[in-house]
Symmetry: C2
Subunit: 60 residues, 2 copies
DNA sequence: CATGAATAAGAATTCAAA
DNA sequence: TTTGAATTCTTATTCATG
């Protein structure tokens, strides 16, 4: 379910310093969401997340 | 001079909807700054600009 | 140090397919 | 309408060079 996955994404990036979409996909898979980078890319677009070049955090 | 180029970048993205670093490099060249995508990438990092996936504007 | 050319790495999209 | 695999496109970095 996409809504639940979106919620999980927000949760993950609030807790971890995710640097790539592949990395985010990995986290999702560990949490039971079996997705690929392509889907994560679409999710990021839908959630209007941005990639920040910072030592603190990449996605926000 | 890097500072002037940075200023020009801020000016350009405030006026135009730039979608890629290559496109930004083109604009810079038209304004007398002869740079490549590699330098634009570094400038964006230094200016802490972010790429926003929106229909309104790409860089911000 | 700043930069470009070339390349590696990452992200967006196309093209099925379900 | 959603997704993955493959592909294309974009960005970051490496490795010189000025």
């Amino acid at each position: 379910m996409k809504a639940a996955r979106h919620a999980m994404i927000l949760d993950i990036i609030s807790k971890f310093n995710i640097e790539t979409q592949d990395e985010l996909a990995e986290y999702l898979r560990r949490n039971g969401f079996d997705v690929t980078q392509a889907t994560v890319s679409r999710d990021i677009k839908e959630l209007r997340l941005i990639k920040v070049l910072s030592e603190q955090r990449f996605y926000k």
